[in-house]
């Protein structure tokens, strides 16, 4: 395995009503989901979420948290009929998570595809905003991770891994990597500290909100390594590593590197290929220090006493990956892996020379460059409201208001995925995972599906008194290659189920 594995990105969007900061975000988020779903002809009674296999309190370290001691915000599996929750034809899930609308991408097998379906989520949110704007003042959505006043909401990555890989190995090798990774994939933020009590600029939206090294929580005492063990797949074979420390990205290159380099590090962990101890001293404090230093010169101290910049630490991981790929694949890299390795070296090289050289590839650099321009031109300091306004408006999903989208339209960023590919991903599922079966069933038989989830589709077929559940516990089954012809020749769900039964019988 290389950069390729089953993966996906889930993003909670910031939400606000212009001029009404007191508007109820849960109700608003429900409206966002409903506005999009109803425009697609999805009724609330159909294609709702199947919670049967969800277990958000199971811990990768091997125990389960009692419901009594869990914070209410950790209980995500109790169905609340007032909360909208739909599955879309591209295989994604659009729903309300706590007080935010969330888009969870379908399962894909490459970082490039993850970027495409993540950007599809931006277009879905944008379409919802467009529809809601028809009744002023409308609702605005922001692909960011903090309000700068003490609240944070997540962009999570998911990576399917082999169950047999010891979790302690993942923890050991991933913590130092995550401490440094933000210099490639941070999205930049005005304000230091969770509530921005100190004026200034930092590399990551999320870093200040991380307080422990390892843990189950996602909404409080956030851990660098999250231990949620909810594989949505055959539990004996797989774990789903749930990564909660990343920022929401707009730059294709930063997003590709976030997913691609992490997947490579995981592949090396699975292959026991990391023979160096890169353990960083005081990782949580160091994570914060790295984020607070846009010069990228802050030194990290390794357990063996070595002192490295975050870029130098990332070079260590890069060189380990390069060596490992050479040994395993003798230079015959698949395109996805070659692409990640090429951008990885290029971005590290730029960050090392002068971080400002990476403004076409890395979100925080692009944002800082614009803000520095304002500071130089207008004599602003970091406490100026205009800089904080730019920080927020940067991530507005609207093409005319969102500053990133304006600058992208002006050709100021490297684009790896074309607009046409993203548009396609709004409606079409990936062809090489079970998301294909899920999405195509939603497209072809919307009225005959009672519910769906990551690992099941539940049919409500006329003439049958009971619902029929098709489990999908193997993420790489249900692909176009395996079920495409079957779906093509099944005009209705009853035919599909009959064919599936005879195929498996």
């Amino acid at each position: 395995m290389t950069v390729r594995r089953v993966m996906g990105i889930e993003t909670e969007y910031g939400i606000s009503v212009p001029g009404d900061p007191a508007a109820n975000p849960m109700l608003l988020s429900g409206q966002v989901v409903h506005a999009y779903a109803s425009a697609q002809g999805i009724r609330a009674a159909h294609a709702s979420w199947d919670y049967a296999d969800e277990a958000p309190l199971r811990d990768a370290r091997g125990f389960e948290m009692g419901r009594g001691v869990a914070d209410a915000s950790q209980l995500t599996d109790e169905e609340d009929p007032s909360l909208a929750n739909v599955v879309l034809t591209n295989g994604s899930r659009l729903y309300v998570d706590h007080a935010h609308p969330e888009y969870s991408s379908p399962e894909v097998t490459s970082p490039r595809a993850a970027v495409a379906w993540d950007r599809a989520g931006e277009l879905i949110m944008r379409e919802s905003v467009r529809r809601l704007s028809q009744v002023p003042p409308g609702v605005n959505l922001y692909k960011n991770n903090t309000d700068g006043k003490g609240a944070s909401y997540g962009t999570h990555e998911n990576y399917l891994m082999r169950r047999e890989t010891p979790f302690s190995d993942i923890v050991r090798h991933l913590i130092p990597f995550f401490v440094a990774r933000q210099v490639m994939s941070g999205s930049g933020r005005v304000g230091i500290g969770q509530d921005s009590r100190t004026a200034g600029f930092q590399i990551s939206q999320r870093s200040d909100f991380f307080e422990v090294e390892v843990g189950l929580e996602t909404t409080l005492k956030r851990p660098i390594i999250n231990t949620r063990d909810e594989p949505h797949a055959v539990a004996d074979l797989y774990r789903r590593l749930h990564v909660i420390i990343g920022d929401a990205n707009h730059c294709d290159v930063a997003n590709l590197l976030k997913l691609g380099t992490t997947s490579l590090v995981l592949a090396m962990v699975e292959d026991h290929a990391i023979d160096e101890d890169l353990t960083v001293s005081r990782p949580v404090a160091t994570l914060h220090r790295v984020s607070h230093d846009p010069t990228c010169r802050e030194l990290l101290e390794l357990r063996d006493g070595a002192r490295l910049t975050p870029v130098q630490l990332l070079w260590r991981y890069h060189d380990l990956a390069e060596k490992w790929l050479e040994e395993r694949y003798a230079g015959e890299l698949d395109d996805d892996t070659a692409e990640v390795m090429r951008w990885w070296a290029l971005v590290l090289d730029r960050l090392e020379r002068d971080p400002m050289e990476a403004s076409r590839e890395v979100d925080w650099v692009a944002k800082l460059k614009v803000m520095q321009g304002y500071i130089d031109r207008d004599g602003l300091d970091w406490s100026d409201h205009r800089l904080r306004a730019i920080d927020i408006q940067w991530s507005d999903v609207r093409p005319d208001k969102g500053l990133f989208h304006r600058l992208r339209a002006a050709g100021r960023f490297e684009e790896l995925v074309t607009d046409a590919e993203v548009l396609d991903a709004v409606h079409e599922p990936p062809v090489d995972t079970r998301a294909y079966f899920r999405g195509k069933c939603l497209e072809k038989y919307p009225d005959q599906i009672a519910a769906a989830s990551w690992d099941s589709v539940i049919f409500d077929v006329p003439g049958h008194t009971s619902l029929q559940r098709v489990p999908m516990l193997e993420p790489l089954r249900g692909t176009r290659a395996t079920v495409g012809p079957l779906l093509d020749r099944s005009a209705d769900a009853a035919t599909l189920l009959r064919e599936l039964a005879s195929a498996s019988g």
């Binding site: 900061p21 700068g148 944070s152 909401y153 730019i390 927020i392």
Partner: protein, 68 residues
């Protein structure tokens, strides 16, 4: 570098004869800096046109509940 003989046709009007030849930043570097400056100016102009006019109120109004 131009020799004495070659310097005459290239001499600029504002460069007095007796003054030593100034050592400007390489033309490429100056041009690049000018490009960068005009580039960032056009970025700022673009943003000026769409930035929320009451930044303070806009920032104050962006209040989120925590999430995951």
């Amino acid at each position: 570098m131009p020799s004495q003989e070659q310097s005459r046709p290239q001499r600029r009007d504002d460069a007095p004869d007796e003054a030593p030849e100034p050592t400007p930043a390489s033309p490429e570097a100056s041009a690049r800096k000018e490009n960068l400056d005009s580039d960032i100016d056009s970025v700022l102009d673009e943003i000026d046109g769409v930035l929320e006019s009451n930044a303070e109120e806009f920032v104050r109004g962006f209040v989120q509940k925590g999430g995951q």
